[in-house]
Amino acid sequence: MAVTETNLGLSTQSDFSRRNAGESSSTAPWHAQVPVGYWVVGFVLLLMPAFASDFMLFQIFGWTFILGMIALSLMFLAGYGGMVSLVQMTLAALAGYCMAIFGTSAIETISLGWPWWVAIPIALIIAVIFGTITGALAVRTEGIYTIMITLAIASAFFYFTRQNYVIFNGFSGFNGVLPPNLFGIDWRGPKAFYYLTLFWATLSFLVVVYVSRAPFGLALQGVRDNPRRMAALGFNVNAHRIAAYSFSALIAGVAGILLTWQSAQISPGTAGTGPVIDILVIAVIGGLNKPIGPFIGAFIYVLLKTFAIDVLISLGLSGDRFQLLVGISFLLIVFFSPDGVLGLWERWRASRNRDPLLDAGEDRLS
């Protein structure tokens, strides 16, 4: 087995260091280990429906959480595993399609109408299986090839769903894909949907943080940094990579179901090349090294997507130039801060805290 060590340029070992920092203070109770900032953000998010408009809750935050989860699944692969996959949006869309096909939709000739507690597990299982197969194909080559192969697979899915009318209903896809009326709540109501997405986004965030320091996550980071050494320790390097794809597919699948419920429809365009690349853009803008990065990136992206048109028009430009704005901000981030806005923030904080008399070489650990 030829193991080439590719320099991905973006991966740093900050999570390893962070783990170390956490370990040394593990005598403290768990709630004291969480930085104050997280508590503040948590409370604000919990109380948000008290003061935010329905549009904010449903469109801005709901969408942020969903896109954040999909980007988080990419961050897990790229940040911990060193594998940049462009197939995450496709996995999400596949889960959404499965909800429409096995559950209920307005296209009654195709939808099987099975209850949600059957449809959801099937959707997630299929997404995980597809993710695993993609992973098994992608890990056969190394490093930068992954991005090309996953892009090709994602496009294949897009074209296939667009051409296939028997299962995927072709170009128009499915509409009327609604969440179940569980506990008598309309889960597409702004407040309910806000809490629903907040819950799943928080859960997936916590799971990723937890797993990153469990044996599986540690081994994955070991595989990223030094595959040859990991093999010499008895780890099956490729099996770990493929398992990472499966795990990320689960997160993407959950997000895909939520995404389908939010817009009540799913169509080939959901996973077209544009949205597929947007997920990478989101993750990179936020920062690929920390699980919180994708959510920050998603928030910025959603804000841009929602309000950029107004801003562009007020600047005298056509509102159509949204893609230009996204592209340029993406380029600027990649050029000047490879670890996203999180990296910018950390560098700014480090430069502010630095004692000019001491060489603060260890600011990363703070």
């Binding site: 087995m1 070992q13 390893f16 260091s17 783990r19 170390n20 370990e23 040394s24 937890y210 797993v211 320091r213 469990a214 044996p215 599986f216 996550g217 540690l218 081994a219 980071q221 070991g222 940094d225 030094n226 040859r228 050494r229 990991m230 093999a231 010499a232 320790l233 008895g234 780890f235 099956n236 390097v237 099996a239 770990h240 398992a243």
Partner: protein, 270 residues
């Protein structure tokens, strides 16, 4: 095509494994060669090492010692010949499969996870050969694997640096950590690639102490430039030159051998 072939090999190797149990050599190489393009890095190497045997491999730079290790552990596959580990044909096995059968190695240039602490490096090494390597559950303090890892850290005298980042360890400490990682998870045979290189005299004697203190069933091969170290920790010596075996014998014989002296001391580099 190749799937069929390996399938057949596997099925015969089971039978061979059964018949060979108990009498097999720990390590047996037959006619192993390794080519990089036209360059032959190893030429027709045949070695048998008995279980528990401790052997030193000597030879100048470029003699093929590290390539030999790479072919044994599966970092590279041999171009020709067979490699048997306790009677089992592992020639086509991937590195991790050989490791899981009880083979271990250290690296000449430390390949450690510099962003992790000492204990985490050893813990990761213990995970690699355990079933818990895919675990999504974090380790607790009283975890069995963690306890083994703690023991190993003590064996190589690194307990004071348990929570230090590997990047902040001294060179000698990193070498010791390499050894701890090689000792994880019940090894049956270990390959040490120049463990003493760059160590201070005190660290050297500590190393010799660790090596001679290993349980007697644990055999090893050690590549070592320092004749003094090599001869004190081994029972047999193999001299390599230009990718081939040049001489084999007891340490005393090798030391006395005129040809070896001419080659190693005259044309040597250290």
């Amino acid at each position: 095509m190749s799937v069929q072939e390996t399938g057949m090999e596997r099925s015969t190797s089971v039978a061979e494994r059964l018949s060979a149990t108990g009498t097999a050599n720990a390590l047996e190489l037959r006619g192993v060669s390794k080519y990089f393009g036209a360059l032959a890095a190893l030429k027709d190497i045949t070695i048998s090492v008995a279980p528990g045997e401790r052997r030193a491999v000597l030879g100048s730079n470029g003699a093929g010692k590290t390539t030999l290790f790479n072919c044994i552990t599966g970092d590279f596959l041999a171009s020709e010949g067979t490699v048997r580990f306790f009677g089992e044909d592992v020639t086509e096995f991937a590195a991790h499969e050989r490791i899981r059968r009880g083979l271990r190695r250290t690296y000449q240039i430390s390949l450690l996870f510099t962003g992790l602490t000492v204990i985490d490096n050893v813990y990761l090494a213990c995970c690699g050969v355990s079933r818990g390597r895919f675990s999504f559950i974090r380790a607790r303090r009283n975890d069995a694997l963690m306890a083994t890892a703690e023991d190993l850290v003590r064996v190589v005298h690194l307990e004071d640096s348990r929570d230090t980042l590997v990047a902040n360890l001294s060179y000698g400490q990193q070498r010791q950590l390499e050894i701890a990682m090689a000792l994880s998870g019940a090894p049956r045979f270990i390959l040490f690639d120049e463990p003493a290189a760059g160590l201070s005299p005190t660290e050297r004697s500590e190393l010799i102490e660790i090596l001679t203190g290993l349980p007697s069933h644990m055999g090893y091969i050690i590549i070592e430039h320092d004749m003094d170290v090599a001869l004190r920790v081994s029972e047999t010596v193999t001299m390599m030159h230009n990718g081939a075996i040049f001489k084999e014998g007891k340490p005393a014989e090798i030391e006395e051998d005129a040809e070896v002296q001419a080659l190693y001391l005259g044309g040597g580099h250290e």
